[in-house]
């Protein structure tokens, strides 16, 4: 089935999310929509899937114009979607989830047998290895995603939309998914693949459409170099490697000893983590999301009261102290999710800039806030960190992600720090702000502060790290030097220790053969995920 978009425009008020987009997905091909976060990819997909009505333009299926009033129309027309965030009911079984919305019935009772049979058929055909009776919440993320694909296939989808399907997968799960996509393509399905990860895009696509700020900026062939694709995507040559000198470490230390944490359900979240960060260096913590990095940062800042072990900042023991005491001890913290943990959306920009400083004597006297000092502080931070605001008294929620993040970073770097911890410091942040934030982080390092950066983006890790710590299932798999090849880190992220990963890389195993020299030259691109294929 052929899917075509002609001049599709979607506006939200004044904001144009998609600007006359043309796109054709031929049967038996993978068409990739490539673009940065916030380029309008997901909006476009929601238009195709009937969740949004296009402001202008039309959607054609096999050259027939169609209009969708909702996802059910799109599904009936043969379009299936695998969402970025899975739309599964966690406590239901696979079969129940697949049946949901189009349940086969016998009289008034549910006929799951038919669904089970269909799931087995599809599962066998594509090698999905999905048990229809497994409960979804017990399944690994990669398998859950396959359930989503099955859901679409059971409804006879001929066009499959995959919205950033690899964002949550480990490298090996990603490879499996790419294999599945290849099979679907050979079966004559049309696939619309959304991603900003260049390695995957080049590996699987037949056609590539690049969008930026809601507009198509070009079509590309998958043979085009990552360099060119990245340039098209961001619109300028991006220098992700921050100009930083060798780290000059000093005697200040932050020492983590035997840090352990067990979840209330008995699952260990952190297992005997030991490491030391020195003043003047950046330790980047890498790993697939959900392997204990979040808990590590929360334990450091005192938000995991059940954590055990020792966290020594110089001579001060942080374990057992309250968050406030830890902040007072000189720890700066940028939480992973700024909108839930970093900012108060309804507070003004000025107020957010003093969120953890308000009771210091420069901002308050006798329990009364010093408005002029707060206002001056806001002016200074807005100037120094180049925060683009309408007015400093506007609500922080009105700003873009990049500017919101700058508020958090500015606030934390306002104080004299003894330790700086930043989790996903540039997630969902525009390129310009990324550069700026990275520079500030390096500047903090150069002041002699120990810095811990947690990031799931390997490019960010490479850009900032002096050393790289890799986490897997709550365990520290090892600390690798900054020039460790991607393949080795990839193996560590999948559960190999540094030594094991290095050894197998030497033997030239197929996962990410240590093409270190090539990769390093690619490192000055943000999304160039290595050239291992």
């Amino acid at each position: 089935m052929k899917l075509e978009l002609r001049g599709v425009t979607k506006k939200f008020g004044d904001f144009t999310a998609n600007d006359s987009i043309d796109l054709v997905v031929e049967p038996g091909t993978v068409h990739t929509l490539l673009g940065e976060n916030g380029a309008g990819k997901s909006t476009l997909m929601n238009v195709v899937y009937g969740l949004y009505e296009p402001t202008e333009g039309e959607i054609l299926i096999d050259d027939q114009p169609v209009t969708f009033n909702g996802p059910s129309d799109a599904m009936n027309a043969g379009i299936g979607m695998v969402h970025q965030h899975f739309m599964l009911v966690p406590v239901f079984t696979v079969a129940e989830n697949v049946a949901l919305g189009s349940e086969a019935t016998k009289g008034v009772s549910l006929d799951l047998a038919t669904t089970r049979k269909k799931i087995r058929e599809i599962s066998d055909q594509y090698g999905f290895e999905v048990d229809p009776d497994a409960v979804v919440e017990d399944l690994p993320v990669g398998v859950q995603q396959r359930v989503e694909i099955i859901k679409a296939l059971v409804r006879d989808a001929e066009v499959l939309i995959l919205d950033e399907p690899t964002a949550v997968l480990t490298p090996s799960e990603t490879d499996q998914l790419l294999g599945i996509m290849d099979q679907l393509r050979q079966d004559g399905k049309s696939l619309l693949f959304i991603s900003h990860k260049l390695r995957e895009v080049r590996a699987i696509s037949n056609d590539i459409t690049v969008i930026r700020r809601g507009k198509v900026v070009g079509k590309a062939d998958p043979t085009v170099s990552t360099n060119e694709l990245a340039t098209m995507m961001v619109g300028k040559n991006v220098q992700l490697v921050v100009d930083k000198e060798e780290a000059h470490t000093n005697s200040d230390t932050f020492e983590v000893k035997d840090l352990s944490l067990v979840a209330p359900n008995g699952v260990p979240l952190l297992k005997n983590v030991n490491f030391t960060v020195h003043g003047g260096e950046i330790l980047a913590v890498a790993g697939v999301q959900g392997n204990g990095q979040t808990e590590l940062t929360e334990a450091i800042i005192g938000l995991q009261p059940k954590a055990t072990g020792s966290l020594k900042l110089g001579e001060t023991e942080l374990m057992g102290k309250s968050t406030k005491q830890i902040l007072r001890a000189g720890v700066g913290f940028v939480p992973e999710d700024r909108s839930t943990d970093g900012l108060v959306g309804s507070f003004s920009i000025s107020e957010n800039l003093i969120l953890d400083l308000f009771d210091r004597k420069e901002f308050s006297r006798a329990a009364t806030l010093n408005r002029s000092a707060i206002s001056k502080n806001a002016d200074r931070a807005i100037e120094e960190f180049d925060i683009r605001v309408g007015h400093k008294n506007d609500a922080a929620a009105t700003l873009s992600g990049g500017n919101q993040q700058k508020i958090v970073v500015a606030r934390e770097l306002t104080r004299d720090l003894k330790l700086f911890v930043a989790s996903q410091p540039t997630r969902g942040v525009d390129v310009g702000s990324i550069e700026f934030i990275h520079k500030r982080i390096v500047a903090e390092r150069d002041k002699g502060v120990p810095v811990i950066i947690v990031s799931t983006e390997l490019d960010e890790v490479y850009a900032l790290a002096d050393r790289i710590a890799v986490f897997f299932h709550g365990e520290l798999m090892g600390i690798a030097p900054a020039d460790t090849p991607r393949g080795v880190l990839g193996q560590m992220m999948a559960g190999a220790t540094y030594e094991e990963a290095l050894a197998s890389a030497d033997f030239g195993s197929d996962v990410g053969t240590g093409a270190a020299t090539v990769e390093q030259s690619e490192n000055n691109l943000p999304w160039a995920e290595g050239e291992n294929r």
Binding site: H83, H85, S322, T323, S339, L355, D356, L369, V389
Partner: protein, 439 residues
């Protein structure tokens, strides 16, 4: 209001409060993925964020609908409507007359009675309104301040009762000079309420129990505790009714304008006014208020900034309880001069609507409380002089809240702008202007 009525009212409110709470939960749990970076305010903030225009719009709409109801229920109008098609003007005239007369009576009973012979008598209703609004101001603040911290304080009723009990205990047992006794009564009221409210905060912080459930249960306990005490240690000697002894003169707040005038307004009003100033400072200017507001608007961010969310809950509920407790103390030793089972009337529940109408700002709550005081004071006069049942006042009050809870409806009726949109636009414009200037 009898105990049963009180408890029924309480259940109704609880249901609506939990409904608000769950709606809030839903928006939190199920954020539209498209809105990722965008701010998605909770239901409470959307109601609060409506602006003064919205409150006034809701009031006007409620008065119009209330007027229609008065007209429809008026017997003359009903009779005239039987020959509506023969002479429609009769129905309309009678309807208009019924509604306008009722509202005029409401005005006369609450603000200015132009039919009275002396100026003092003409202006007396206004002071009556102010007197009645004292407990509404304080209890309204108690709800508002908790609301700003993200808590639904349904327990103002119980907190008022506890404040009144403590104040009465002081009044009966201590016999000091006026100022000292009054000071002790104030402290007693504050303390009683603070204990009752703080208990809610403590249980929520330590066990995670929901404050709505907790405060409702404590309301029950307060109601029956009051009944028990009025039959035992606080009962008037030689009396079988549940009523306390009449307060001695040294335990009664003096009237502001002295005893020579009919004005009942006592110095408690000044205290209530001071409380408005205090809460205004506390919320907007103090570090404590900053903490509380942060906890209310985003507990996650508050925690990360080293602000203790549980301490915030305990603190705000104690402050809220103290304010409501003061309302109870002023009610017994200022207005009523005696403690009986009806001391809290429906103040604790009216306080919720007062705080909502006032958008949980201290001054908004103050003016909303005056309005509700006027309803209370004028309602009786309306019933007496026009025969319109006082229940219609309650209907109008309920309609106001109904309209406030549905901002898009009021905006559509009065063509008010959506607060979220134009602000953004102007911010963007400014930003682009700046960008242009920079170039």
């Amino acid at each position: 209001m009898s105990v049963e009525e009180t408890l029924q009212a309480q259940e109704g409110l609880a249901a609506s409060a939990t409904a608000l709470g769950t709606a809030e939960q839903k928006t939190k749990d199920n954020p539209n993925p498209q809105m990722g970076e965008q701010y998605r305010p909770s239901l409470a903030t959307r109601i609060l964020g409506g602006g003064v225009g919205l409150s006034i719009g809701a009031m006007i709409a409620a008065f119009i609908v209330g007027g229609l109801l008065i007209a429809v229920t008026d017997s003359k109008t009903q009779q005239a409507s039987q020959y509506f098609f023969a002479r429609p003007s009769d129905t309309l005239i009678y309807g208009w007359r019924a509604a306008s007369e009722a509202y005029v009576a409401l005005f006369q009973g609450s603000i200015f009675n132009f039919e009275a012979n002396t100026f003092v008598r003409q202006i007396n209703p206004l002071f009556e309104t102010l007197t009645v609004s004292i407990p509404l101001i304080l209890a309204g603040l108690a709800v508002a301040i908790a609301f700003r911290t993200g808590l639904f304080n349904i327990g103002a009723q119980g907190q008022i009762i506890l404040g009144a009990i403590f104040a009465t205990f002081v009044a009966i047992n201590f016999n000091f000079p006026l100022v000292v006794t009054l000071l002790l009564i104030i402290i007693g009221g504050l303390l009683g309420g603070a204990i009752w409210g703080g208990l809610v905060g403590l249980l929520k912080a330590k066990t995670g129990a929901h404050e709505v459930i907790l405060s409702i249960m404590l309301n029950y306990i307060a109601v029956y505790l009051l009944q028990y005490l009025l039959k035992n240690s606080l009962q008037r000697p030689g009396n079988t009714n549940p009523i306390s002894p009449i307060f001695e003169d040294n335990a009664i707040f003096p009237r502001i304008f002295g005893d020579g005038t009919p004005f009942r307004l006592h110095w408690g009003f000044v205290l209530a006014l001071a409380a408005v100033f205090f809460v205004s400072w506390l919320l907007n200017r103090s570090t404590i208020g900053f903490r509380l507001r942060a906890v209310g608007a985003n507990p996650g961010a508050a925690k990360n900034a080293g602000i203790s969310v549980s301490a915030g809950y305990i603190l705000v509920m104690s402050i809220a309880g103290a304010l409501a407790g003061l309302a109870g103390a002023l009610q017994v030793s200022g207005t009523e001069k005696v403690l009986n089972t009806g001391v809290a009337a429906s103040f604790g529940f009216d306080a919720i609507t007062v705080a909502l109408l006032g958008r949980s700002t201290p001054w908004g709550t103050f003016f909303a409380a005056l309005l509700y005081g006027a309803f209370r004071a004028g309602g009786t006069n309306m019933q007496v002089s026009t025969g319109t049942p006082i229940d219609l006042v309650l209907v109008v009050q309920a309609l106001i809240v109904l309209f406030i809870a549905a901002p898009p409806l009021v905006r559509a009726i009065f063509r008010l702008p959506d607060p979220a949109k134009p602000r953004k636009k102007s911010a963007k414009k400014k930003a682009s202007q700046k960008a242009v200037e920079a170039k």
